[in-house]
Symmetry: C2
């Protein structure tokens, strides 16, 4: 039931947009910041919150850090919402 950080992370529209952007593949903080016209510090903050919530993972490659959408927490959330709705996986 530890969805606190996940729901808090998802409550911000910029962070939801970052996740959408990562659907097409991993991106560096620079690429993400450019897209949103945000400073490095702001984008770092958002990426750290998403990472803390398990929604993105990062990997260093040379001087860049790449961020990837981690869908396992998304799956957990979907499972929780499905049982809340009262259905099951087959009905979704």
């Amino acid at each position: 039931m530890g969805f606190e950080d996940t729901f808090k992370a998802l409550s911000d529209p910029t962070r939801r947009q970052i996740l959408q952007m990562l659907r097409s593949g991993r991106k560096s903080a620079g690429e993400i910041g450019e897209q949103f016209g945000l400073t490095g510090a702001t984008i770092s903050h958002h990426l750290n919150v998403l990472k803390g919530a398990g929604l993105v993972s990062d990997e260093r490659e040379g001087k860049y850090i790449y961020y990837t959408l981690d869908t396992s927490v998304v799956e957990d959330l979907m499972a929780w919402l499905m049982q809340l709705r009262g259905g099951n996986d087959d009905e979704a």
Copy 2:
């Protein structure tokens, strides 16, 4: 994309438990408060947040107000998470 209030409402563990409790049918604020050992003011606050997020609806019956789980927002969230995951409804 107005999921702000929804995710904020869901970030609280007591509110998630209230939603779980409402799966079995509508309940009055008193019945909900009793279950959690919470004061009327605290339970009212949580129920108002859930109502503001569209996750519960209420109906007055005599001197009681009954709260019902509203699954339409839950469906919207699931749809959003599904497209984030990159699958579609049929695969869920």
